[in-house]
């Protein structure tokens, strides 16, 4: 094995204080980028959670609706038109909207009501941990997530409250269906949803269509589009993408997260560059000796790059361990940080690029070394 690695590691570990300072900089930078990007991914997942869990091939939505939570309404007559299209198996109306949950104490809290025909199974509550979803069709039956007990002022199954002045009873409990807006989701039957959101019987928020198996999808989508006039027809992927774009970029939230990540990269690069440069300066006489002995510039560059890579790998491992703890801690929060294998791989690549590019300043300094200086001291 070449001594390049030995020299690089000894140079790096020789000044422990500087090494620790470098690692702190890298870890800070990588953790910051990891959290920002993890929030970005987590936010991206949260904003499409209803679309992800809906059993839908096509979404018929009001023209210009930007996301699932958009309050615009459709004319329910469209349902028959869409259902008549060849290849369409079913069309189910969905009614959603904000409403008020009134606690027994008289306090009010906003909730987001989601109602559909439960028999169709288009968008039923999932992760049900207690109670019976079928009981939602009973008058006043609702399903809520148990993480919202405090917000809703309830203690569990059988609890009662009022939505828009109508008595409701918790008949099913879910786990982990959280809203990024922090407004609790309340699943109800379609009929009740109209009452709780004040939606007229001839209106719906969206229509969820399923296609028959073996149907030519493109052809069916074109045919549906031809029937809906001003309304829009999106595939699940298109609707997911539109919702995500709106919440992440339309609101500026995504840009803020990216800006935070960029800041992390800049801070990390500057810290590593500064410490590598000062380490190189401290070892200039050694590099000059190497040069005087006849080493190529590449040999010296390799020493610096190995130092940078060692910084990157050790810093990344520490940052990844911290990231794992953060992921675990936020798993049950309103906005969990999501770290995927791809994000881990991308962060490792970013850390390596950041550390190696930080060595450029040191390399430029080394290029200027005059081997003759070895004879002057």
């Amino acid at each position: 094995m070449s001594l390049v690695m030995t020299l690089a590691s000894r140079n790096l570990f020789h000044d422990r204080l500087r090494f620790i300072a470098t690692l702190v900089g890298i870890v800070f930078s990588v953790v910051l980028v990891m959290i920002q990007m993890g929030l970005f991914l987590g936010f991206g997942r949260m904003v499409t959670t209803m679309i992800d869990h809906a059993n839908a091939d096509l979404w018929v939505i009001p023209k210009g609706a930007k996301c699932f939570e958009d309050p615009s309404l459709l004319d329910l007559k469209l349902r028959e038109k869409v259902a008549a299209v060849d290849g369409v198996a079913s069309v189910v109306p969905l009614v959603i909207g904000f409403s008020d949950w009134r606690l027994d104490s008289g306090e009010m809290t906003p909730v987001f009501v989601i109602g559909t025909d439960l028999k169709e199974g288009v968008l039923s509550p999932w992760n049900v941990v207690d109670g019976d979803v079928h009981a939602l069709s009973q008058s006043g039956g609702v399903a809520v997530d148990r993480s919202y007990f405090d917000r809703l002022g309830i203690k569990g199954l059988g609890a009662t409250a009022e939505i828009r002045g109508r008595r409701v009873k918790v008949v099913a409990l879910t786990d982990g269906i959280r809203s990024f807006t922090t407004t609790p989701f309340v699943f109800v039957d379609l009929k009740n949803a109209r009452l709780y959101t004040g939606t007229f019987p001839n209106r719906a928020s969206d229509l969820v269509a399923r296609l028959k198996p073996d149907t030519d999808r493109a052809k069916a989508i074109d045919a549906v589009r031809a029937q809906v006039g001003d309304a829009e027809v999106l595939t699940a992927d298109e609707f997911r993408s539109r919702s995500r774009s709106f919440w992440l970029f339309g609101t500026g939230a995504g840009a803020a997260l990216f800006a935070g990540a960029l800041l992390g990269v800049i801070v990390g690069t500057v810290i590593v560059a500064q410490t590598l440069y000062s380490s190189t300066k401290d070892h200039l006489s050694e590099f000059a000796t190497l040069r005087a002995m006849g080493s190529s510039n590449n040999y010296i560059y390799n020493v610096i790059i190995y130092q940078a890579l060692l910084n990157a790998v050790i810093g990344f491992v520490l940052a990844a361990a911290i990231g794992y703890v953060v992921v675990e801690m936020t798993a049950k929060s309103a906005l969990p940080i999501v770290i995927t294998p791809w994000l881990v791989a991308a962060l490792l690549a970013l850390t390596i690029v950041m550390c190696v590019s930080s060595g450029i300043g040191a390399i430029i300094r080394v290029v200027r070394i005059d081997p003759a200086t070895v004879f002057m001291r």
Binding site: M1, S2, S285, T289, A292, G294, S296, P371, V374, F375
Partner: protein, 244 residues
Amino acid sequence: MNEIIIEARELRKTLGRGAGQVQALRGIDLSLRRGELTLLMGPSGSGKTTLLLILGCMLAPSSGTLSICGTSTEHADKEALAKLRRDHFGFVFQSYHLFPTLTAAQNVQMALDIRGEHGRAAAKRARAALGLVGLEQKARSRPNALSGGEQQRVAIARAIVANPSVILADEPTSALDGDNGRTIMRILAETAHERDRAVLVVTHDPRIIPFADRIIEIEDGLLVNEKSDGPEQLRVPKAAALRP
């Protein structure tokens, strides 16, 4: 006559600019041969170091020619000069310039490493070179655990381990006491005579004159005197000086 390793003709070097310009070398003709230990002596500012740097391919002459083992240095860029140093030279510095974080053996091995020789074979050669300077038992010691004389012996082992044609030594004994200085010079003389290398030692130290086969004196950028081997020309018989 031994093979000429370094041949310099009409070397001139001007340092500085304008009013501060200095003619450091003013036409030097010099040949270094295998099997010969040459001392380069002269007062401060005489041009010794400038000549050493040019002969060691670290500084380009303003005019004149230099060839190393038959290869001209004219038009050679920095990397080509580094390759010449790598292929033909071993250096011994006044301040040793060992790598403080590496062991003695690794310091010696470094000279092989930059030449692309790695692994166990290189480590074995490094230990053998340390053995030649009597330091095999200190192979695992770091420089700060070695005396000045031992450090200089490690530096000599580093200079000879790759079997270069030329050893250039800059004041190798100036920081050492008499005994250590003699040990260092004995090793350098053995390197010249027994390993058939050209050895050039730049020095102020008159104690090492007895080890020389040839003494060149430089003054104001010119070679002013040259003495060759022989009791009538060198002040102390070489054989006596070589005794341990």
